[in-house]
């Protein structure tokens, strides 16, 4: 019996040693709210992680934990990551905000990057993308491509990010086609392929011939393909899910940001920042346009994208009224980031209420 115990003790000793041999300059952990195979939000963050691995090779070691629920579990996972020698942690969901702050306070030497949050500390940076800029561009395309003048919009939860996207898309679509109407369905889930498909079908039944989605799965696109209407890729390009239906896509492209931040950490120049990048640096990127879009519309969309990226135009440029008719932005005025970040109203012309 003693021999057996000794054997196992030696064995575990060897294993302990074995796990500590390899050491990169920087160990970076990623915390995902979903599985990397969701082909949406988490998939794109994982692409960013892979880009980091590719860019730095042996100098950087990356790890990840997937399907980590927001709240207590996230705090535990991040603490264990910090304990196990991670130098940098990317927390890729809004709901990780308070856990990140708690863990960051306990580990001042670990650098935290929190996606889509607004709380920062000396060792906590935040970053997000101006996806609404991309939505303006595809909104323009939607306005031009709809024959029924009804654009269907599948929305997840009524949070500023989603409301902002609806408004940006609507304003661009309206500018392109004054007769356009938006029909919005709230599915109250980020990820439920069957329900998203049901919503897409309901919108098509109600006359929509172009669909936009702000949920995570590609199923609205697959429904559009089947029913012969148009739709857009969301989060990732999704071309393979609807080769005939997909007019374009908005892509979350975290690669450049992740590489830059890891580089800064390696160089010792990392400091706490707040990044909200749009089309210009390519954090919100556009996928290729479908050939079914007429040349002139494609050119207009490109020009719009270039103008937004170059700062010559803004997705929210006045005059814009709120839904109730009250004035929001005067002629030529552009929206400030504060209002955009907390946007909780529709612009004039959108029908229905934001669920409360």
């Amino acid at each position: 019996m003693k021999k057996i115990i000794n054997f196992f003790l030696t064995l575990s000793g060897i294993l302990l040693l074995g796990s500590g041999v390899f050491a990169a300059d920087l160990k970076v952990g990623f915390v995902y709210v979903g599985p990397p195979g969701d082909f949406g939000w988490t998939y794109q963050h994982d692409q960013g992680r892979k880009a980091v691995e590719k860019a730095f090779g042996d100098r950087v070691e990356t790890t990840f934990a997937e399907n980590v629920p927001e709240g207590a579990d996230a705090e535990r996972v991040m603490t264990q990551m910090a304990l196990s020698g991670h130098d940098m942690i990317f927390a890729t969901s809004f709901g990780y905000m308070d856990p990140v702050m708690n863990v960051a306070a306990k580990f001042p030497n670990v650098k935290f990057e929190h996606a889509t949050g607004y709380k920062r500390a000396d060792n906590v940076s935040t970053y997000s993308a101006r996806f609404y800029e991309g939505r303006s561009v595809i909104g323009h395309i939607a306005g031009k491509m709809t024959k029924s003048n009804v654009v269907g919009y599948i929305a997840s939860f009524p949070i500023p990010e989603v409301v902002r996207g609806i408004n940006a898309a609507y304003l661009a679509a309206k500018a392109a086609n004054p007769n356009v109407k938006f029909k919005i369905v709230w599915v109250f889930t980020w990820f439920d392929p069957a329900k998203e498909a049901d919503a897409a079908n309901a919108l098509i039944d109600q006359g929509a011939d172009v669909l936009m989605a702000h949920t995570d799965s590609p199923s609205p696109l697959t429904v559009a393909e089947e029913r012969g209407v148009f739709a857009f890729g969301q989060a990732s390009d999704m071309l393979q899910f609807g080769p005939n239906a997909r007019l374009g896509s908005i892509i979350d492209d975290w690669d450049p940001y992740y590489i830059a931040r890891v580089q800064a950490a390696l160089d010792g120049t990392w400091e706490s920042t707040d990044t909200w990048d749009g089309l210009a640096p390519g954090m919100a990127a556009l996928g290729g346009f479908h050939e079914k879009i007429p040349m002139d519309v494609r050119a207009e969309a490109m020009n719009l994208a270039v103008a937004i990226a170059g700062g010559r135009t803004h997705s929210f440029t006045g005059p814009i009224n709120r839904q109730d008719g009250s004035a929001w932005l005067a002629e030529g005025e552009t929206a400030d980031d504060g209002t955009l970040l907390g946007m909780n109203f529709y612009v004039e012309g959108i029908e229905g209420d934001i669920p409360q």
Binding site: A194, L203, Q206, P218, T222
Partner: protein
Amino acid sequence: MDFSSIDPVILIASLIVASTPILLAATGELIVEKSGVLNLGVEGMMIIGAISGFIVCVELNSPLLGLIGAALGGGFLSIVFGIVTQVLRANQVASGLALTMFGLGLASLLGHSYTGIKPPYLSTPDIPFFSEIPILGKILFQHDFVVYFSIISVCLVWYFFRATRFGLIIKAIGENQDSAHALGYNVIKTRILTIFIGGCFAGLAGGYLSLVRVPQWTEGMTAGAGWIALALVVFSSWKPLRLFVGAYIFGGFTILQLNLQAIGIELSVALLSMTPYIVTIIALVIISSSKKQGGSSTPGSLGKVFMEAQ
């Protein structure tokens, strides 16, 4: 707001499609429960069906073989449950939940390299003449064949339990396992068979999701449909034809609330999203309270462990 833009014919046609996965899975579970076994692992068997069907379909480039693969995938997983609960006599409630956990994990492991692929398309059979009938043609005769299979199988199951010898044996085993055993029926073998059939139905339901409804594979794509199927069986009071009522009420309200939103009805979305569940509860209360003197139709041995008398 314009209610007239909701076309009842389209609504009914799409609720039939939307209800197909839960109807299929519930049919399978009903057979299992009739034999006195409660398998709460429907969600796990569905998702295994979804991925195994997807793999077969993509690798062999055949949606039909994919659906068969889905059924077998669900069936094989259910065998695990069958052995654990029937041979090793483990508790059915806990084993079913463990099966769900196991199935969800196994499915994502298997599906790792299958995300982002579009499977070959299952064609909808063209039914001449019938599909031309006004209204009824659109509601009933313009679907893919899994929809027909689900409807026909509910009717067959009804006939099976009503009029066939084997159906009556299964019912007898479910009602009173000890006296069925005393009459010489092999309780355990029969139950393993029903568990397998139930697993096949659940697997097919999952395959329908990944191959037809939302043709794609994504982790966790069943998103709770298996639990709804379980609820449907209870809702139906173990009467096969009532599965239609339950599935179409549930599916109908799911579709209806989305349509109501699309036409811009001024109602709380949270409230609308609850309606399928609340309506199911209300319907159940009406059914159960109208029954005379609490005559529950629950199989008598449901969920009980069978031990041969010594």
